[in-house]
Assembly symmetry: C2
Homo-oligomer: 496 residues x 2
């Protein structure tokens, strides 16, 4: 049974987390460095331009947007097609070299760090949008395609892909992380919106999780391999194609902002709007600190109180009804009148402000680094956990505006940390662990959408228990017996 | 590479499929019979009443509602709690006895047959509804709880569980089969509606796929174990609890029937209704043969032409808009005026007629047996595959009314077969294989919701390719190295 860490070990672990990098703290005895002969093979597969040993390029591929320290790979390769990915993987497999898939590096839990060195597979050169079937609401994309570029491509078709984690992440990276974001309350997460994946396994084998080219809207044909790879964070295979479910662009959309006297009334409104069956597209909570930061950063002037950003999608008529029901509920909870964003430009400005929350938080303390926590609890537990978390922030003397996809029970503290202050770092670490454990104590999860990466491996074990972790390790061993794929992520192999 | 079967082998395989049973065709050398000492252990775990060796009970647990021949287990056990399931599994594991989980026996692909003998775990005595959280829209059920009993229990809460495969199946059995049915077009399948599972593994270990008691609406915490067990058909573990997502009962519901001049116009209407963004709850297609059978069986008088049964859920106002849009579309395609079912009783009669399609089909040829095919294709391919299938039925001189969840691209031919006519059986077999391959050639799947069981193992291989099958086998080996859990289902172990 997992007994928890002592405080000393916790501090050590957090320091290690920030430092976790082959060059600093981990022996590399089991892995060979990348030899010249191997580099020649890489060049013969993806050309002179398809491989980089330059320090800047390696540094750039050794980190994401989290506070996890940069762990550069030994070499970065840039395959142009699945056959090249497969050939490169075969070489790595033969030479026992770690393989780290890289999309856009917008992850938040250290998922791309080369903690044992090895070969980073940057998939940016595979950026084709393939096989759009507008009449079937599906499309297939290569791993270099980002969500914004897909939606730009779709603009004239009347279709869109709604999963929106904020960052312009690659869609296959979003599949790997089981990403979601602001629209998930209505349209689901990547789990519900990936229909098929092409995956290169550790030994170079190419599979299609639902069969090559298949795209039925539902299936019960064998084990759900698609959803085994969605959320596997590059530890089970390299995703080289994703077939995605598309949606018709709604006839009408309208956004609104509503201020509340308290966290409780804002969250109560959320729960009641969902209970009333309003098919709300987005319902985002920002606490007073967050809205203040957004006001400053995006030159807005919303009341500095707990706030909901809402968005409604539908026909003109159904919109009216949705909005009326929602407004009735918010007003009965003491919410302000809705401030409207009806035209595309105003709506876009509003959501840009929400997506810029990260930068707005950072701007509260120039020179500091933002670190986003991520927990998710059942809806009814939201007011309590947010209130307790705000008290904890004050007691811990920390800056952490809160923003969240409250329709899913998912929220983030955007911690703004001085990386040169070890005491503050320690307090942040203790705070984030308390937050995660608070979520666990309320039947929730330590991560609703950011994934486990390096940062949440110990918490994952607490969340699932040793038996479920052992099952996960068994799946990992079955698919990647040499433990080459994105080592040390999700599971701490053989260290438990 | 899979090269397909010759006709001779096909016939052999189909005969084998109908006969597949330890007593008839498979050696049992690897498995010991259930010895007295083992039976004593079973009795000490679940009491004298918790075990049955009676022929009638064993027969009853050796078959589902398909044409697969009855394969009775050696013994049936009736555990009362997860601890008993775990203890029984440990005994089976020690003595290398096959374990076959049994819910209600309403499956359609031979999933419960004890093809290698062994121990059937009937879960009917575990029938408690636990941990209802109305404010969070979730509930946890034991494996003996059926969907109808859950919805009866929920009646006063304003909530319901919408996944509806027709039969009053157990909810954990529905999870095991990845079931769906008429409401999936709006509410999703079991894949989207199971939040957590308690599972007993082959060696008796108890796991919770998302952590014990956890019920966040979304998570990205590690591999998606929940959706690995959903659809695993008892081959990876015994599901002993399921936490399910609930929905608010809509303010208003209305059903309608609409007749069409052709299959094409009925299916075109379906596609256009979905494209228009109507959040339709049910849209069911019945071909002329099917509606004729339903008319006779349920004393109805609908026009004997391709027909849609539709259902709309929402507020009174949104319903009006949904209905108007849908009716405009159906009329532009030459559909009849809607025939309404507004009150609960009329709606219930209408959907009972749809759910009784199976018996209506059987009644077309008294003394014959119904056999339901199950394919799913992208929406745009539906008219072509249904037309080709109807022609094939005529050419093959077979009775096979067609009914389907066309909003998902999923449909069934309800074959009515004389089991004593080997020539007809052979023609049915060739027809169903052609139908499945037609679906595969149109980017579809050989099973949208019935699962693989015994019946579709060869087709599954064609659908996914040998590499993906090998990955599935690797997962099976990792979780059930002794191959004790529901042997021979989904994968044909070591026989490929």
């Amino acid at each position: 049974m997992w007994l928890g860490w002592s405080t000393g070990r916790r501090l050590l672990a957090f320091r290690r987390r920030l430092q976790l990098c082959r060059n600093v703290s981990l022996p590399n005895s089991a892995r060979g460095a990348v030899e010249d002969g191997v580099l020649s093979k890489f060049r013969s597969i993806c050309g002179e331009d398809g491989i980089s040993l330059g320090e800047a390029v390696r540094e750039q591929h050794g980190k994401d947007e989290s506070v996890h320290r940069c762990c550069p790979p030994d070499v970065v390769v840039f395959p142009r097609c699945v056959e090249e990915v497969s050939a490169l993987a075969r070489v790595c497999h033969k030479h026992n070299l770690p393989i780290i898939p890289f999309g856009t590096g917008t992850g938040l839990e250290g998922g791309v760090g080369a903690v044992q060195g090895g070969v980073c597979f940057s998939l940016r050169n595979m950026d084709q949008i393939l096989d759009l079937h507008p009449e079937d609401f599906d499309v297939t994309v290569e791993p270099g395609v980002t969500r914004k570029s897909l939606n730009a491509y779709l603009r004239d078709t009347g279709l869109w892909f709604p999963v929106d984690p904020g960052a312009d992440a690659s869609l296959c990276g979003m599949a790997a992380t089981s990403a979601s974001g602001t629209n998930a309350v209505r349209y689901g997460t990547m789990r519900e919106n990936v229909m098929n994946l092409e995956v290169v396994l550790a030994d170079g084998t190419i599979i299609h999780t639902a069969g090559k080219g298949r795209r039925p809207r539902k299936t019960s044909a064998g084990y759900n391999l698609t959803n085994l790879f969605v959320g596997s964070e590059g530890t089970l295979g390299i995703i080289t194609k994703a077939t995605l479910r598309l949606y018709g662009i709604p006839e009408a959309m309208v956004s609104a902002v509503c201020s509340f006297p308290s966290v409780q009334t804002a969250v109560d409104s959320t729960v009641q709007i969902l209970q009333a069956g309003v098919p709300i597209a987005r319902i985002e909570f920002l606490d007073d600190v967050m809205i203040d930061a957004c006001n400053r950063f995006s030159s807005l002037s919303y009341a500095v109180t707990p706030t909901l950003f809402l968005e409604f999608h539908g026909s003109e008529r159904s919109l009216e009804e949705q909005v009326n029901t929602a407004e009735e509920i918010t007003q009965s909870n003491g919410g302000s009148d809705f401030q409207w964003a009806r035209d595309a430009e105003t709506r876009s400005r509003l959501w840009k402000a929400r997506h810029d929350a990260w930068y707005a938080a950072q701007a509260l303390r120039p020179g500091c680094k933002a670190y986003s926590t991520d927990v998710c609890v059942p809806l009814s537990r939201l007011p309590q956990i947010i209130m307790e978390t705000k008290e904890d922030l004050i007691e811990s003397r920390l800056t952490g505006p809160i923003a969240g996809h409250v329709g899913d029970g998912n929220f983030h503290c955007l911690m703004v940390v001085d990386p040169s202050d070890p005491d503050e770092l320690h307090r942040v670490h203790l705070f984030t662990e308390r937050l995660a454990r608070r979520a666990l104590a309320m039947d929730g999860t330590c991560t609703g959408e950011h994934g486990v990466g390096l940062g949440k491996r110990a918490l994952l074990r607490e969340e699932l228990g040793p038996q479920a972790i052992q099952v996960m390790q068994g799946l990992k061993d079955a698919l990647d017996p040499k433990q080459l794929l994105n080592p040390e992520k999700i599971l701490q192999h053989k260290e438990q």
